[in-house]
Amino acid sequence: MKCSEAEKLVLLQDSGELAGNRVDILSAHLDECKNCRDFQQSIVESRVTFQATEEPGIKVVQDVLREARRLAPEKKPARIFGLKPALAMAASVLIGLGLFFSAFGPGKVGMELDMTETQLLESEDQIVSVMYSGLSEDNLAFNFLMTYEEG
């Protein structure tokens, strides 16, 4: 490899743009070539010599920051306000559904049926208890036999 080519690879390596087998090729060349190693070293030395030490005056920076504040976009309003109508609508739907199920919901119908059955059972018990109230066990046995014989 020519030194001029190797120097370009050194520069690309310094900028992080050298990849693949060219890294190995350059490494092999640098092992043998002092001139190219000096070139590589000169990049490091230049970086030390040419440091970005100059800076603008305070007023210049303040002007930039003032302009930044002036041009800053306005703060966006919180998104919750944009959702207000949707939230109101969802709330009304939920309330409506709640009212519907409280009036006609399957749970309510089942409960009514259960209550009716209970009430019916209770009524039968009440009739039986009225029928047999005041009768002794002997009377009950006699009534049963009479009914059997008549049958």
Partner: protein, 196 residues
């Protein structure tokens, strides 16, 4: 661009007017040093530095680059050319930036009056020597060199800024390094001895 820059820009676009302050602070030195070397004279440098930021602020919602500093350098590069055109020097800056690697320097064409960085730091011999050495480079060579030194800008990005091939950028950097090394030989030797 690192994560902090993205967060700063998002916060700024979200309405936090002070969100860009850390970025201005972080990039002021590389950007200012670059402009100062490219234009000469504090007055021009101050104006271009501010204008670079103003343009960046106006277009920050369009920012799609990976690296914010690279974007600032690109804006500054265009402003330096614009300034040269406005100054109505005899030589076209466009040809100077898009042409060959001649020896004429940007300072030759701009010759902006002002205090040099070397004078700013008190006229030290090192500062003067560095200044003289940089003045020996052509505008394109100097720009490639400074973008690499101050901004660590990749050659791919520099090629886009200068509208040339990567190979041309590499050749300019080779030349710049070689020339600076020969001019600043004593300084470099001292550095080499001081380095571990």
């Amino acid at each position: 661009m690192d994560k902090t820059d993205i967060e700063c820009i998002k916060a700024y676009l979200g309405g936090d007017a002070n969100a860009l302050e850390p970025m201005v602070e972080k990039y002021k030195r590389p950007l200012y040093s670059f402009i100062l070397k490219m234009t000469e004279g504090r007055e021009d440098t101050d104006e271009i530095f501010q204008e670079t930021w103003f343009r960046a602020l106006k277009n920050i919602h369009k920012f799609r680059h990976k690296n914010f500093l690279n974007w600032l350098f690109r804006i500054a590069h265009n402003l330096v050319i614009d300034r040269a055109r406005r100054n109505k020097r005899n030589i076209s800056m466009q040809s100077a930036f898009g042409g060959d690697d001649g020896d004429s320097t940007l300072e030759d064409r701009l010759a902006a009056p002002g205090i040099s960085p070397a004078e700013e730091v008190g006229g030290t011999s090192l500062g003067e020597n560095i200044e003289k050495a940089v003045e020996m480079l052509s505008a394109e060579q100097k720009e490639v060199f400074l973008l690499r030194m101050y901004g660590n800008v990749s050659f791919k990005e520099i090629a886009k800024i200068q509208k040339c091939s990567i190979n041309t950028c590499l050749a300019r950097m080779q030349y710049a390094l070689g020339k600076l090394r020969s001019i600043l030989r004593e300084e470099y030797d001292e550095l080499r001895e001081a380095m571990p």
